[in-house]
């Protein structure tokens, strides 16, 4: 059964990291708007299991972006409440393309989701490390340090919204990670910035695309 060309995104916002993820997801929502793609935005308290399950059932989105904390077998929502857990409800992801900006979830949840019928699962097999400038916390979108990490992440969504395959979306994301790493290691980079290149490298290496690499939104 084909899904609707609709995007569902979860945006918990209860701590520093999720605040950044939520803010930078505004850009994804804007991109979808430009392409006239309907977006169901589960923000803050709405980023819970019940609303997620309900929207997935009613609106049947082909693309789901899960922002939030997690571990090897789960992704959480607002206030770290469980959203999807391997062995419990990964079946709700069946037939969809998933991008999970969540620590380690690709390791078990990603694989179990594919076994349960998810088309593709792009995620991370280790902790996602995010650096930020403490002086820009009130204005996450102006944080040039966080941009180095979240721009490559957003590239996945940008590529998928443009119709690229999941494999290509991941590849494009990694290219931007690599570009940002090179920039930080160049002699033109601000003093000390090379010291957080290793966190970018870590995230780049941890990103995987599971399932059908040729799947498109």
């Amino acid at each position: 059964m084909s899904k609707y060309k609709v995007l569902l995104i979860t945006r918990p916002d209860h701590d520093k990291a999720t605040r950044y993820l939520s803010a930078w997801s505004d850009k994804i929502i804007q991109m979808a708007g430009v392409k006239d793609i309907p977006v169901f935005d589960l923000k803050r308290k709405k980023a819970n299991k019940e609303d997620l399950t309900s929207f997935l059932k009613k609106k049947d989105p082909a693309l789901v972006i899960l922002n939030g904390h997690g571990n090897i077998d789960e992704v959480t929502g607002h206030n770290n409440k469980l959203l999807v857990k391997a062995g419990e409800n990964e079946h709700i992801l069946k037939g969809r393309i998933i991008y999970a900006l969540s620590c380690s979830s690709a390791l078990i949840l990603g694989k179990k989701s594919i076994s349960a019928g998810a088309l593709s699962y792009i995620g991370y097999e280790k902790d996602f490390m995010l650096c930020n400038d403490s002086h820009k916390i009130a204005r996450p979108l102006q944080d040039k340090v966080a941009k180095l990490f979240l721009e490559p992440s957003n590239q996945i969504c940008k590529s998928l919204l443009k119709g690229n395959t999941c494999g290509k979306a991941s590849e494009n994301s990694k290219k931007i990670f690599a570009k940002n790493i090179r920039m930080l290691l160049s002699s033109d980079a601000p003093l000390g910035s090379s010291e957080y290149a290793k966190f970018l490298w870590w995230d780049m290496k941890a990103q995987v695309c599971l399932g059908d690499m040729e799947a498109t939104f």
Partner: protein, 80 residues
């Protein structure tokens, strides 16, 4: 037994040197930079250095990131 003790001492010394290296590299982080590590929280460089010194879970993660990234740099795998 003496050989085992010697190896243990060497390993402990190596572990200590690695910790010192990681702590030195963390000291070089620019002021104001914070690192969020999943739901573990957000840490400034002083907190990360203390974690490495204390050998707690965050400290161990910092060591792992550093060691693996340095290995990648050495092998020419840092940009791909």
């Amino acid at each position: 037994m003496a050989i085992v003790d010697q190896k243990k001492n060497e390993q402990e010394q190596l572990d200590q040197e690695i910790k010192q290296l990681v702590m030195a590299r963390l000291k070089a982080l620019p002021e104001g930079i914070e690192v969020s590590i999943g739901s573990d929280g957000s840490f400034n460089k002083e907190e990360l250095i203390k974690s490495v010194e204390a050998d707690d879970e965050i400290g161990k993660k910092m060591i792992e990131v550093d060691m693996q990234s340095l290995q990648a740099l050495k092998e020419g795998d840092f940009y791909v």
